[in-house]
Subunit: 408 residues, 3 copies
């Protein structure tokens, strides 16, 4: 039980130096503050609706020490309910996913509807009001097929305006009708901010990710390998003509254009960027060939890919034929769940899963090792936040955004 | 090192709300307070004398971070000694049980008698007083065959008056001459209070324990399934005629009658209750038939069972032919040892162990799962102590008793 | 995050009682203080130069949460570098030992020379000064073949004068040209001070180490079994004539004489002592026969052995033909790495490893068990620091030295 005043003082000091000092990556009390002030207040993309197509189907989403039931009710509406019985606090659902007619607590059989309302509780006192004892609801929005949760205890935080900018892009890719082709977990023994920082720069791509680099123009990786404005200004300038030429072609094939690059004062630090692969690469596969039919409103391959961040926790990388949804979930000070969900068009008959997952699977395995070694080095007394390269500009933005969140 | 003042403040707040809030089930500093103010001050039943019939035989009893040697000396008296050498602090006995002529520390061979007195220590300074360096003694009482310890550092707390009320019942069952037929461990990853609360209500019996329920009258389970006054008043009233009729028959067969139901201000929150099984059930076995000869002073089966709590940590459930001694031992904030020791009459020739353990073994396995899921749910930020049913009245009494102990 | 003031108060109280109370052996915050005030300020012997004979060869030395690269550069000079990239803090070397042309961080490929200087960092801002971003250096001294590190953050602490007293002895044994014949690890789940206290007394030898005792005169073990003045005054007196007679013979064969016995106010609590084995024992092997050629400047076996402590963390026990280098490395409050490195003369052709390691291997395995049981006993509320025997005088000196270090 570290005093909140001690944490406040630590954050205050970070404003003058950096939030990349040791305790921000290692301390459980700082993690509790991260959960309270940041993770619990953001819209978190947790999965795609196609995971639970039928009434009664559910999965559990676990973040920090929270467990949330995401379940489709009889009207096919999806609800998010804290997995904590209102009676004595038992978990209500024990399996990570399944199908239920109703939610019956395994302890004393308090029974809830699929909307979380309490429907039966035996032998309660006369003044017990069943209506007041539904499962605690978690804010939920389904948007273009993606399920977003927000764990804020109060009113539902604004959603539509915040994410409106993505509308044409999500629509073009047809995510609302997409389906899950594969999923894989890469639990990583490191603080969530190390996972995010790794994702927000491509400075490590050349040394660490040969497979990933083989799919892309070298200039593109340096300029925008980790999203808009992630690289040096001159690299961006050098890449601009290539990008513009490709954009022109892509626009002709129907792709909506645009870029999003939220700053350190934004709510979700969203990002959006589109660019071409290597010119002979149709999809991010080893042979460059697609693994499934084109996604969404496409009629022809445009050799491009999009990068979209709903927040530092959720990212979509979409080729023409499949998309990788990347989900980072903080669990404790030195543990983060990393999950990748591969999506294909809802009309796709056949999907070559092995070829589809090749690049992100090998890359994420590499990142797991890298990030865990980063965490271990930070435990040293000699660790100090180092100077960032010109290819890590988004890491700096993220650090500032993080501190702003803690002090909001 | 949380300040004691912080714990004091937490307990003070619990007086206005509930001691069923998250920290009371999860926090190691609260657990340390539980050990100091409560567990270390109670008479804890740790085993039956028949475990160590011969001189020199011992077993270790471990509670919290304490290890205590319970050993029979050459006069067959049983001593309880802290398993910590007075020299440099090594454990003296390493094996969980065994037989010793004397207690020699494996480190420097300081040698203690079976009463803990220091008998040999080589090369000590001249002013070293051997008499002052015996193993620290733990208060011990042997009562009707049961071994009770009390870890209080001061004078021996009163015993005889506190437990006198059980005399005729313990005598009738012949526990002093009973013998151990089997034992099993069910270590449970949960706070000890969750284990006790589970035991102090039968509200969960119908949903969770079909085997247990199959042995009993439904009315009995609702009214007194977890001891005297554990159920709703009207259920108790409804069950009263059945109970009275059975008591009349049982008394004729020699069973002493009576009920104990200590309140929240008591020292040990003792309880005692007798009632019939289902009318065709002689013993709590799957076929309802006994597994051994009748226990104690019985001459004929009376189809009944007794429930006796020496404290929230120790319970006996006795049929006519065997008794299950249930021992809950706190180990850390989220770990509790659960052990069951099955006893039969000392004259029993043959015992059908599989049939004897069936009901409590399956029921305790079920409870382990239930309680661990209760613990996990309580870790959520949304957990809050819920309203109790009319069948959980003893849980409420226990919660109040617990708080009273902490503030005594 | 326990306040430093709380730790200060604990140390202050220990001055009036003992630093052998429970928190000094169990508490992670006390361990952090041990690291800061003591371990990080001492010269620690970490290995022998023969482990890394060639340019580019390195090994990692891990102490507390620190990882240090000990590497031989192209001029064959050995450098010690904190294994923490100056960029984002990743570990630079991941394998426990190996050979490198340069040190390239696996994360972003910042590349350092074998002296730690930063040689390449892509895409850094214009004002980035490469010269200021070498790996943090750890103080290092190579002395008679032994590699010493000192983790002090400031100027290099004095070395030459502190260890000058050992010169003739280290020279006589030829350690500078010795080579490693074998190494073994005995990680021990106990506080480092329990490991040191175990090594600083031979009071436990008779009960715990039959193999060790079989090699030595009983009188020698009692008098000086754990170094100079480790036993009772009268035992030392009784052993004196035997010792003197042997010294006279040994001196004739060239062995330099002398004793070192640093007191509680010293910097490193060094110690040095020579004495004979049992008179029929040439080497500390099971059959008493040597396992290799004589070490150093010897021409003939003198049936003796030397005991040398550079500090409580590092000890050499040398027979005529081999030496055991014993290295204790604190890792956390209840974890200590124990490593033994066996050395033989650099000219030794053949070494009988099994016979060489027999005594220290079996003895160290025994000590691991003993020390871990000591740690477990200390967790009890009834543990209190006991009275020491006349054969544990160096334990008392160590306890006082330890407290002096914490308050310096």
């Amino acid at each position: 039980m570290t005093s909140q005043a001690d944490i406040d003082a630590l954050i205050e000091r970070a404003r003058d130096s950096s939030p990349r000092t040791q305790p921000f990556y290692c301390d459980e009390d700082v993690f509790a503050r991260d959960m309270q002030k940041l993770v619990s207040r953001k819209w978190l993309l947790v999965d795609h609706v196609s995971r639970i197509p039928e009434a009664g189907q559910y999965f559990l989403y676990e973040v920090g020490q929270e467990s949330i039931i995401v379940i489709r009710d009889d009207d096919l509406k999806i609800n998010a309910l804290f997995n904590v019985c209102r009676h004595r606090g038992s978990l209500v659902c024990l399996e990570p996913e399944g199908k239920r007619l109703r939610l019956t607590c395994p302890y004393h059989a308090w029974t809830y509807g699929l909307d979380g309302s309490l429907q039966a509780a035996r032998l309660m006192p006369e003044d017990f009001n069943q209506l007041e004892h539904g499962l605690h609801r978690c804010h939920i929005r389904v948007h273009h097929g993606f399920i977003f949760l927000n764990l804020s205890p109060g009113d539902e935080p604004e959603f539509d305006q915040e994410f409106a900018v993505f509308e044409p892009h999500l629509d073009f890719h047809g995510f609302a009708e997409a389906k899950i082709a594969h999923r894989a977990s890469y639990p990583t023994d490191a603080n969530w901010k190390l996972v995010v920082e790794n994702f927000f720069e491509c400075y490590h791509c050349v040394p660490a990710h040969p497979e990933y680099c083989s799919r892309h123009l070298r200039d593109a990786l340096v300029a925008v390998g980790a999203g808009p404005n992630s690289g040096p200004a001159e690299a961006i300038e050098r890449f601009a003509p290539v990008l513009e030429e490709w954009q022109e072609q892509a626009a002709k094939l129907g792709r909506p254009l645009g870029t999003v690059d939220d700053d350190e004062y934004s709510l979700h630090m969203k990002a959006y960027q589109q660019r071409p692969h290597r010119s002979d690469i149709k999809s991010e596969t080893q042979d460059g060939q697609p693994v499934a039919c084109l996604m969404g409103h496409r009629t022809e391959c445009d050799y491009g890919r999009m990068y979209l961040s709903f927040s530092p926790f959720n990212h979509i990388i979409a080729c023409n034929d499949f998309a990788a949804l990347i989900v980072f979930t903080p669990r404790s000070a030195m543990r983060t769940d990393v999950e990748i969900i591969w999506l294909v068009d809802g009309r796709a008959d056949t999907v070559d899963v092995d070829r589809m997952i090749w690049m992100w699977d090998v890359t994420t395995r590499q990142d797991k090792v890298i990030i865990e070694n980063n965490q271990r080095g930070i435990l040293s007394s000699r660790y100090q936040p180092g100077c960032l390269s010109d290819q890590e500009r988004r890491v700096d933005t993220f650090n500032k955004w993080y501190l702003n969140q803690l002090t909001n």
